[in-house]
Amino acid sequence: MTTNPPANSKRRKLLAAAAASTTAAAVAPGLRLIEWATAAASNATDAQPVTDETRWGLLIDTDKCAVDCDACVRACNAEHGLAVTARPETDPQWIRKVTLTGDGDGDNSGDNSDDDGDNENAGRITSLPLLCQHCEHPPCVDVCPTGASFRRADGIVLVDKHTCIGCRYCVIACPYQARAFVHENLFAQKPWSPRGKGTVEGCTLCVHRIDQARTPACVEACNRGDGDGNNAGDGDDNNGDGNNTVAEGNTRIDGDSDHTGRNPDNCGAGALLFGDMNDPQSAIAGRLRAAPARQLRADLNLNTGVRYQNL
């Protein structure tokens, strides 16, 4: 399985130390482990806020992103308790799949002029997930009247819902339409993802996971699949090269509990790579060095944290 562990070793050491001190504490009778962990958590003075030493990034290889696979979208919805009202028109979307068809002019300008005459991308279908691009210079933060929209030191663009007044300036300002508004009262939210009516929200890069040295839910789901971009659980990437992207021709994780031969959870082909772009040793920095990657609307100079390869 391809995993992309966050490469912030300093933070991980800190977490390891916290775990060690917890083990040493005595367990009070009748306490279950999860509650005990909470009880044993201390206001350790060595807990430091995140810094700009790290710049979290997401690299998306569109060659590996299949048109009919939405494992990342479903993982996001499940992790954050989105898409629960059964009214998709108004349910917030933090990540969505977009399909592009090349217009033949060899660039992505949308002007339909054949710049170089070679028609190289005419009719080429590209599928990609679109989400908050975690800009270094986020327009949503510029326009926010209360300071609720902010960029965390390590590059994650967030809404502090405690100060959000629901004005939706940021929704308008975002060039990627990556922010959504909660229109309805919600119930039974996930403890790690508080959400409520009247506030704006968007992809948090699963900040609650990152702070525990875990990978965002979409990335985990995309790398959990058999790599063939379909749902058949056969591990065949169907491109005839006999070389399957993630798991070589096996049904390593087919999760096919209903024995229909299909598993909607394993279509992911490892298109998403998460990591610290500031760390030269990280996989994401390596891949960014090795091949060119694009920023969406690079003309806006927002220096996005989400990059696309083979677009």
């Binding site: 306490l31 009880a39 958590a41 390590d154 919600l186 939210q189 996930k190 403890p191 900040v207």
Partner: protein, 134 residues
């Protein structure tokens, strides 16, 4: 000793038949949290928990510092009650802001209204329904 106190409190509440169950000292009766003590001395907790929560909120949201003793998720993990009795089936967790439950009972008594649980889960993790009510 402790048992005797509890019984007399219940009796007093029954005699006075007031809406919020109250003890002999006039305080609302709160379900007891898990473990021996709270995260701070009792008097400090009663007086200052809102300040702790506000401070913790900013540290977590802005600084990514999590899971410390003043976290709101932590309060719920220790103070939420299950519907069932002590023995047998423990039952599902009850929302901590439901009438008579820990945060509600005292806030009802003291006239505090807060919106935290419009967003924050009011039950601990691990006991959550998959979909929401209408």
């Amino acid at each position: 000793m402790r048992r005797a106190v509890l019984i007399s409190r219940a009796t007093v509440a029954a005699i006075l038949s007031i809406a919020v169950p109250a003890g002999a000292d006039g305080m609302p009766q709160l379900p007891r949290g898990k473990g021996a003590t709270c995260v701070e001395p009792l008097e400090v907790m009663r007086r200052n928990h809102m300040d702790f929560l506000n401070h913790e909120r900013d540290l977590t949201v802005r600084g990514g510092i999590r899971g410390r003793k003043h976290s709101l998720t932590g309060c719920i993990a220790c103070h939420a009650q299950r519907a069932g009795g002590r023995d047998g089936d423990p039952g599902a967790f009850i929302r901590i802001d439901a009438p008579g439950q820990f945060c509600h009972a005292c806030h009802e008594f003291t006239g505090v209204k807060m919106d935290c649980f419009e967003c924050h889960a009011a039950v601990p993790a691990g006991d959550l329904p998959e979909t929401h009510a209408p």
